[in-house]
């Protein structure tokens, strides 16, 4: 037996991977299958699930309502489709802004003197490791009607004798966008830094020798070589933004409802797990499609674990 184990390489490999594989099957694949089954069911009066095969949750999600004014059989209600669209566009704009902010910083760190590089990098880790919920709270303090930003503007206005009405910043879509950008910025900086750091300095010298100006060098050398970092960072930013519900809950109040809030709500207060499961699967499919097309073009490597 022991001799066979020693010689059978394939058996050894299977044995080593089996705890992880079993964990993934039990806590990833089985839950996903259950979610799929439930999404085709209907709810009973006390929030239980009646198993069946009906697409009505999906139909409802994309705007076909059976609960219509005037007694029509069906009508178009864009409520949930709007929520899906809003989540997608918020995730898109968050990612774009985060790339714009993260790239210069990552470039700065990658080109910094090796002695100081670690310090600059550690400065990115501190906000990242400060808890997610605490970071949202910081923005609640800044954006409130009597918060820090209004306080500072009010103080400046008073100095110049100008009348100032506190701005309503908390519980607006803008607050959610700022909060998302703040939450996920470090997740973009680190992968971009990792890919920029790998570029050899002689490559820049070669580009300069061949007559490229710094801008052209950036466009033709730096940018293409740093794409794996940008792609990995996008995956680490876009996907969580699509599924997060705390930021919109605490900074958006009832004004900004995202898919995450919808799903959480269906499971905890509305008590319709079938509709929540359908929304969750649609969310998953949307992120998988985006990830597929995005990585197919550029691919991502070990930058994904740069965080």
């Amino acid at each position: 037996m022991l001799k066979r184990l020693r010689e059978n390489k394939s058996f050894q490999g299977t044995l080593l991977v089996s705890p992880t594989l079993l964990w993934m099957i039990a806590l990833l694949f089985i839950p996903l299958i259950l979610t799929t089954i439930i999404s085709f069911g209907t709810r009973n009066a006390d929030g239980g699930v009646i198993y069946g095969f009906s697409f009505h949750n999906y139909v409802r999600l994309f705007g076909f309502s059976t609960d219509c004014p005037g007694g029509q059989a069906s009508c178009f209600d864009p409520l949930y489709a709007n929520i899906l669209g809003r989540s997608l566009s918020l995730a898109f704009w968050t990612t774009v802004i985060v790339i714009a902010l993260a790239y210069p910083l990552a470039y700065f760190i990658a080109r910094a003197h090796p002695k100081r590089r670690n310090t600059f990098l550690m400065l990115v880790l501190v906000p990242l490791w400060t808890n997610f919920v605490i970071r949202v709270y910081a923005w609640m303090m800044l954006l409130r009607e009597q918060g820090v930003i209004n306080g500072i503007i009010g103080w400046v206005a008073a100095r110049f004798g100008v009348q100032f009405e506190p701005l309503q910043m908390l519980y607006t879509p803008g607050a959610v966008l700022v909060g998302m950008v703040y939450e996920f910025l470090p997740f973009m900086i680190l992968p971009i830094f990792t890919s920029l750091e790998k570029i050899d300095v002689p490559l820049y010298e070669a580009a300069a020798d061949l007559g490229a100006n710094p801008f052209r060098t950036f466009l033709r050398v730096t940018l293409p070589l740093s794409m794996p970092g940008v792609v990995a960072g996008t995956i680490l930013v876009f996907i969580p933004v699509m599924g997060t519900f705390i930021v919109s809950d605490l900074l958006g109040g009832k004004q900004v409802i995202l898919v995450g809030n919808l799903i959480q709500n269906q499971f905890l207060s509305a008590r319709d797990p079938t509709f929540g499961s359908a929304a969750s699967l649609i969310l998953m499919i949307m992120t998988l499609i985006v990830t597929y097309f995005y990585t197919r073009k550029f691919g991502f490597g070990e930058e994904i674990i740069a965080v």
Partner: protein, 294 residues
């Protein structure tokens, strides 16, 4: 051409982005010394003899001086319990996910077996699907499973299976294993096999070779995988939110619950403590790294 020369635009952008990252944190820390109980306006620092505004014109003395909110925090039993839960979950899930993740990395990097490509694929799935999808999936699994088991064995009262520390730990392992595996795999890629072959030639068996040669060489990778798993667990909100139960509240869940009702400087004091710990750990890591580099 000096490779460290940077465009002024990059410098200005860097300063602004660092300001954006740190200004909110500074405000959090500043307000944890706020003399106003309602925490709406900054009423100045608590003076050393601790005259504290209790809303309106009521003023009380604080025995802790400027650290009034930290004293309140240390007396808060819920925070203490949540901190203990958070650390218990983080330590146990890191320990298990580091071991099984390292095993999986060795298997994928070193061996050929039938389920290899399926294993690799399944390790990427948790990274590319939103956490909430996994969270509600696991919630559904546990509620169905516990429903069946409680019914089948006639479990009642305290012996009923329910969501709690155990379910949170098991779920945290599920989302951290892929990251541990990827980190260790990256380390194994540059691994020189000739050291192991030399050990075997000199008469060491597989076990001794692993412990004396392979393991020390991949240890830095294993440690950084463990560190990643630990921070992921400490920071996690979404999956914990759906898999936790009574008595298993973690710090992020506790703070979230608090923020939905009231805003108190105690949360700032908690944030300040958290940031201080993070700063210390980051500082120690940097010292460690610079020593390794020498």
């Amino acid at each position: 051409m000096n490779p460290h020369r940077r465009h002024p635009f990059i410098r200005v952008a860097t300063i602004l982005v660092y300001f954006f990252l740190y200004a909110p944190i500074l405000v959090l820390v500043l307000y944890s010394f706020n003399a106003s109980r309602t925490n709406i306006l900054f009423a100045g620092f608590i003076p050393s003899f601790g005259a504290l505004q209790m809303g309106g014109s009521t003023v009380v003395q604080s025995p802790c001086g400027p650290f009034h909110w930290f004293c309140e925090l240390s007396r808060n039993r819920e925070v203490g319990l949540a901190a203990r839960n958070t650390l218990t979950i983080a330590f146990i899930s890191t320990f298990i996910s580091t071991i099984i993740g390292t095993m999986a990395a060795l298997a994928i990097q070193r061996y050929n077996f039938r389920l290899k490509s399926f294993s690799q694929l399944s390790l990427y799935v948790p990274i590319v699907i939103p956490e909430i999808v996994m969270g509600i999936g696991i919630l559904t699994l546990f509620s169905q499973l516990f429903g069946i088991l409680n019914g089948a064995f006639g479990l009642e009262g305290d012996s009923r299976l329910s969501l709690g520390l155990g379910t949170v730990i098991v779920s945290h392992i599920a989302f951290s294993v892929p990251f541990v595996t990827l980190v260790v795999q990256a380390r194994l890629q540059g691994f020189d096999k000739s050291f192991e072959e030399a050990a075997m030639d000199l008469g060491a068996n597989e076990l001794i070779t692993f412990w004396r040669v392979t393991f020390p060489m991949i240890l830095p990778g294993v440690l950084s995988g463990a560190l990643l798993a630990f921070t992921l667990s400490l920071d996690d909100f979404v999956i914990t939110f759906f898999t936790t139960g009574p008595g298993a509240t973690t710090l992020p869940i506790y703070v979230y619950g608090l923020l939905r009702r009231i805003i108190t400087p105690q949360v700032n004091a908690l944030s300040t403590v958290w940031i201080a710990i993070v700063l210390t750990v980051v500082f120690l890591l940097q010292r460690l790294q610079s020593r390794e580099a020498k």
